[in-house]
């Protein structure tokens, strides 16, 4: 399993899950917070990935 994107999704899922359960008490709020956090992780990674694209390592 070497897909960077898949690993990013997996990592984001677990971290969002733990944080949402930790921070919120109501199941509805947990789902909402978790979904927002998960989306934020993915969107930020994609945006930062494209911003770094022109720079050589």
């Amino acid at each position: 399993m070497t897909s960077h994107f898949l690993l990013l999704i997996l990592f984001s899922f677990f971290v969002s899950l733990v944080f949402s359960v930790l921070l919120r008490d109501e199941p509805r709020e947990q789902v909402r917070t978790g979904a927002m956090m998960f989306g934020g992780f993915i969107a930020t990674a994609i945006v930062l990935g494209w911003l770094m694209y022109p720079f050589p390592l």
């Binding site: 070497t2 677990f14 733990v18 199941p27």
Partner: protein, 144 residues
């Protein structure tokens, strides 16, 4: 605007009061130890079973994925501070870390494409468990 300190204090004292069954120092230490050993055990103890089950499943799963991705369970090397800090973060995962150390798992394969991902999963698993321990501690003190 008039600031009513008496009202504010009343509100604070109301929020601070909660179940303080585990407020004794000895019980708190036991609670934190249990929460470290088994992710979610502290929440289970405090009656937050739904949360406990999520932590029990998610955190060891993250640690296991980290190992499968050829991550390294870092040794305690004080000469290299970053390695030492990573070792502390790994240790915070609790039982998964103990099992990994007993089985000599987590040697890490630097040449693997997923090595850094593996480290990330292992370290974050431990750090998240630390947050879970602190949350259980706060619940026990009646702060949440």
């Amino acid at each position: 605007m008039r600031y009513d300190s008496k009202e504010d204090m009343t509100t604070k004292s109301t929020t601070a009061e909660g179940p303080r069954a585990a407020a004794e120092p000895g019980v708190l230490v036991l609670l934190c130890l249990a929460a470290w050993l088994v992710p979610g055990a502290g929440h289970f103890w405090m009656g937050r079973r739904q949360k406990a089950i999520v932590f029990l499943l998610a955190l060891p799963a993250m640690f296991l994925i980290g190992l499968l991705l050829n991550g390294r369970v870092f040794p305690f090397e004080l000469s290299d501070p970053l390695v030492g800090l990573a070792a502390v973060a790994d240790l915070l995962a609790g039982t998964p870390w103990i099992i990994a150390r007993m089985m000599d798992a987590g040697a890490g394969k630097v040449t693997a494409a997923t090595y850094e991902y593996g480290n990330c999963f292992l370290i974050v698993s431990g750090l998240l468990n630390f947050l879970v321990i602190l949350d259980a501690y706060d619940i026990a003190l009646g702060r949440k």
